[in-house]
Symmetry: C2
Subunit: 345 residues, 2 copies
């Protein structure tokens, strides 16, 4: 073989290795030689995160919140805990933090209320639970898990889901618990924009696609995968709209044989493109690596469709992927000896 | 080649040709030589349909209803109408017929109310609309289509979906419109069984998986696909439970590049196995024929998981499939010169 050909091949390998999570992958099929003992990946939403609107203090606060959430999940995993426990507890931490659009900090709908959605999936059994439009549940991710474990159903909504929460001893709060000034102001701005657009065009304005969903995917020491997603949805949303977050297959999916996925972005596109399951299907049916499958869905299919957002994913070997086609995505992951927390590209 | 080998090969071909919809398919990849000008497929639910409980009069009534629904859709298609119009009008006919668990004839929930779900998808654009838990909308399939065409959202639920219906001039009725004595009696029986099981085991009984969802998938003369599904859900359901029918990817999916699918069965399994989209993924990523993809999902994956039910599907060439793993499924299809209406295996 000539020296120039060797140089080209060496260059291709260097390129492959420069893509995060692709250390042991070549040519589209996953040939991972190393299995990470555990891996936890989180997101705090994708969207227009402008550097000029972000103070150093605010950026530090976001990074601290992401690190604190990862700490909680990683401790569970180090101690041999389950992927499901790590997902639930990590997301609870993000739900309790008003920086994120989930739990405390959820956006307001058109009627000035907070309606929360969440879903949860166990990769070992493909059991799943989801709730849509709850207004009095402090941690919707815990309710989603309870739906999976304590009911014969997968998806409960509205007042019914709340009744189930009360019957099962899930923590409830007064709806006012979810009030934050920043989200309230965001609703007023969205309504002002909407009013202006309506008076200009005579047509109702499109809803404001405020993002900030949270999610977590995990591979535990036992090799089990789990995924969860929680959100307040879109600012100024109407008509009890549900996005992709409470939809298994769209916003959340987990199967030990392929991967665990949690999405964030313009939910309508993620539903129509069955995004979370599509990653798993590309791995299962086309033998793509996690890196290539997630890249295909987020950077090719969703971009062509006009669907803004991103996702986090982990496979059975602990490879991770965090692609997004928006300006930024709050995200991070931990594996033994590794910790990454990022906001921008 | 020996005569015996030839006989075996001939036998294999005869077997392949004996499977409905497999006329032009061999070896797992779709090599259809003929394109049907149009095709419409419907179902009226899968489940335990016992011959001994079915009088000749009742069977005739079901078959007449299925034929009448096919007549409506087929006329639209013969006249060059769109797949979407055919799906909507055909499902409206099934919704208006009290024999089926959708629209008039929907089952009762635990609180003695009728909560209706539906979804609709356009294969040309992958636009979609869905509604969950509406109680005053006469034809939920029409509302699902309106959500797709008149809102920026895909999925609306409960009172919000009803407010959207009223704002958009969709026909509403008093909740009492949905009362039928047969479904009311079914609820009383389900509650009696539940009470007995609880007193025996001390545990809440599993909900009764009454089936009877309706659906329609179409390939029109322009080559466009569309799919729709409508249901009253499960008798005695609680907590504003949603099944797979209003979930795009689970109960309904359509994409001109692959197929249109509508499901019926134990919805929780269909959500967890993302059934409707899985058929499309197997065709797209593994190059399976419609027949092989639907068979893999319904007769292999769902059977292993314990998920009872079936689905109807049509591909871009007008091939049709109607597999089910339950005792029966009300079903039928029409293509130029062909009409099939069946209940049992």
């Amino acid at each position: 073989m000539s020296t120039s050909k060797l140089a080209i091949i060496a260059g291709l390998f260097a390129f492959a290795c420069s893509r995060p999570g692709a250390e042991q992958q070549t040519g589209g099929s996953m040939t991972t030689s190393k299995t990470h003992e555990y891996a936890i990946v989180i997101h705090g939403g994708a969207g227009t995160i402008l550097r000029e609107e972000m103070s150093p203090e605010k950026e530090a606060a976001y990074k601290a919140a992401l690190n604190a959430a990862l700490d909680i999940g990683e401790k569970i995993l180090k101690d041999g805990g389950s992927a499901m426990d790590a997902v639930e507890q990590t997301i609870r931490s993000l739900e309790d933090n008003p920086l994120f659009n989930a739990g405390k900090g959820a956006v307001f709908n058109h009627d000035g209320k907070n309606e929360l959605d969440a879903s949860f999936m166990d990769g070992a059994t493909r059991n799943a639970g989801a709730v849509g439009g709850v207004t009095i549940v402090r941690n919707p991710i815990t309710l989603a898990r309870a739906v999976m474990e304590q009911s014969p159903h997968v998806m409960l909504t509205g007042r019914g889901a709340e009744a189930f929460a009360i019957e099962n001893g899930i923590d409830t709060v007064a709806p006012s618990y979810f009030f934050t000034q920043e989200r309230w102001d965001a609703l007023q701005r969205a309504k002002a924009v909407e009013k202006q657009k309506e008076s200009e065009s005579g047509m109702p304005a499109k809803a404001n696609h405020k993002m900030g969903t949270v999610g977590c995917v995990v591979r535990d020491k036992q090799g089990n995968l789990a995924a969860g997603t929680s959100t307040g949805g879109m600012t100024n949303k109407r008509w009890n709209r549900l996005g992709d977050s409470p939809v298994i297959g769209a916003g959340t999916f987990a199967d030990n044989n392929t991967c665990a996925v949690s999405c964030t972005g313009h939910g309508e596109f993620f539903i129509r493109y069955v995004v979370a399951y599509d990653v798993a299907a590309l791995m299962d049916y086309k033998n793509l690596s996690l890196e290539d499958a997630t890249h295909t869905v987020v950077m090719d299919k969703l971009v062509k469709a006009g669907g803004e957002g991103g996702l986090i994913a982990v496979d059975k070997n602990g490879n991770v992927a965090m692609p997004f086609n928006s300006e930024g995505m709050y995200r991070g992951y931990s594996r033994p000896g590794e910790r990454v927390v990022e906001i921008y590209k």
